[in-house]
């Protein structure tokens, strides 16, 4: 009874923390476009606010730069359970254009924290982000919440 109630609440109210680990801001702009009335992310009960302490989903954009190596781990530990990590764009997966000869990025993000889902694209379309978050996030959070017990 309590579990199913928790599931419903976890599915219908997702708090997202957006973290840019040294990217080009392209993906962040796409996320901002998601918040606009055209796509209207909040109608699905998803809220973006940059506070890891109350986040369910960590949305990571950008390859990991030198300064972010430690801070990314710190942010991850501060996020309460259950949490899922979604990487947005090509950078957190491969480093993309920044992963050049003589570059100073430490992609992929999965080297530092466990990653649950990846949304490729440079940048992905808002509709793509929306689709993938809706198909993965509610179910994943609910199952993770149950796993904890």
């Amino acid at each position: 009874m309590l579990d199913s109630l928790k599931d419903v609440i976890r599915k219908s109210s997702i708090h997202v923390c957006l973290i840019n680990t040294g990217g080009c801001n392209g993906c962040d702009i796409e996320v901002v476009a998601l918040l606009s009335p055209r796509y209207d992310l909040e109608q699905y009960g998803i809220y973006v606010h940059n506070n890891p302490r109350e986040a369910d989903v960590l949305l990571i954009t950008g390859p990991v730069t030198e300064q972010w190596k430690e801070n990314l781990r710190r942010i991850y530990t501060k996020t309460p359970e259950p949490k899922i990590v979604v990487t947005l764009g090509s950078c957190p997966v491969s480093g993309d254009v920044f992963n050049q000869e003589g570059g100073c990025v430490y992609a992929p993000v999965s080297d530092f924290i466990p990653v649950d889902a990846e949304v490729p694209g440079c940048p992905p379309r808002p509709s793509e982000i929306l689709e993938s978050i809706l198909s993965v996030a509610p179910g994943a959070i609910a199952t993770k919440g149950r796993q904890r017990k």
């Binding site: 090509s90 491969s94 993309d96 992963n99 050049q100 440079c122 689709e131």
Partner: protein
């Protein structure tokens, strides 16, 4: 209390409750636009394994050329494989792909073809600044604004020019806007040589007619153009090109014809030392000899010779319909 009733009335609508419970973005928003540049698609069979796509890709290791090791296919296929987690969907790979039809298609980028070719095709248009009267009729008619004015000189920007040829039709000065054929330059050289050589020989053969021409009078004659044109066509079999070359060469051609009357020569050898290109030689058996291939037609021998051996004529040519009009004038140069 009335406000509470208003809220209940406002929110209790069925459509509102429906939207609240089954939230969904409208379908047209979620659909990709028609011209959306999605991840590149690869058609393996078209690939010529040139590697242009890997070189053009701005991200490292997004495209890799791989080999098909499938045993069931006899022919080993080489084709690009695109890693979607690295690809930035720029479409450069499909732009540079040289195979026809293209191996990589991406949005509409694979339909891009170069607007102009770096090596110009066959024809190139050039303005002769010496003949140009700056009427600017060509600038008005040019559809791509390729003709630019610079320091009071008109010039064709070869990067913009699309070889339409409209400028040549409006140009009022004959030969001011030149058509240059870029291909077969060597053959064109041969044709030009042939034209000048035949014209010179024609004048030399008919020398007996104007031997005693005095300084102030003019001798006129004409020859048909057909045999010359046929000879040219044997070298380059292009009617337009040959006609154009003939007109360009023969109109305004000012030929200097030098004839030697060896009977009058006394072997004084004054000319041998004077000749700037050492075309004139002397030996005991043959006497003074002139090498036509070396001769510059500079007229120094004509001016030095005391026995009137050398004769020097200025000859002008003009094409009129099917004949070449030849005008011969004896040299006005003074003799020492």
């Amino acid at each position: 209390m009335s406000s509470v009733i208003w809220y209940l009335y406002e929110f209790a609508k069925k459509a509102w409750i429906d939207k609240f419970t089954t939230a969904k973005s409208e379908k047209e928003i979620m659909d990709k636009p028609d011209r959306f540049r999605d991840f590149p698609q690869v058609t393996k069979e078209n690939c010529i394994s040139c590697g242009a796509c890997t070189a053009a890709c701005p991200t490292p290791s997004a495209i890799k050329l791989i080999r098909n090791t499938d045993a069931t296919i006899n022919e080993i296929l080489t084709f690009p494989e695109i890693d979607n987690s690295i690809c930035i969907r720029c479409g450069f790979c499909s732009e540079v792909c040289p195979s026809i039809p293209k191996t990589i298609t991406c949005g509409e980028n694979h339909e891009i073809t170069e607007e102009f070719q770096i090596i110009p095709t066959e024809i190139k248009y050039v303005i002769d600044d010496y003949l140009c009267i700056r009427c600017k009729k060509c600038t008005k008619v040019c559809p791509v604004d390729a003709i630019e004015e610079q320091d009071n000189k008109l010039r064709i920007n070869q990067k913009k020019c699309i070889n339409c040829g409209k400028c040549t039709k409006v140009c009022p000065v004959k030969g001011s806007l030149k058509i240059i054929y870029v291909n077969n330059v060597e053959e064109q050289k041969q044709v030009i040589k042939l034209i000048t050589n035949t014209l010179e020989s024609v004048v030399e053969e008919n020398e007996y007619q104007f031997k005693d021409l005095d300084k102030n009078s003019i001798f006129r004659m004409q020859i048909p153009i057909k045999p010359l044109k046929d000879k040219c066509l044997e070298i380059i079999n292009m009617e337009d090109l040959v006609q154009d070359l003939l007109e360009k060469m023969i109109d305004r051609l000012n030929l200097r014809v030098i004839t030697w009357d060896m009977d009058k020569c006394n072997n004084c050898r004054l000319c041998v030392a004077e000749c700037p290109s050492s075309a004139i030689t002397y030996n005991k058996n043959d006497g003074v000899q002139r090498d036509i291939d070396k001769c510059l037609r500079c007229s120094i021998c004509y001016q030095t010779c005391p026995f009137y051996v050398v004769k020097f004529y200025n000859v002008r040519f003009l094409i009129e319909d099917d004949v070449i009009l030849i005008t011969v004038q004896s040299s006005q140069l003074s003799r020492s």
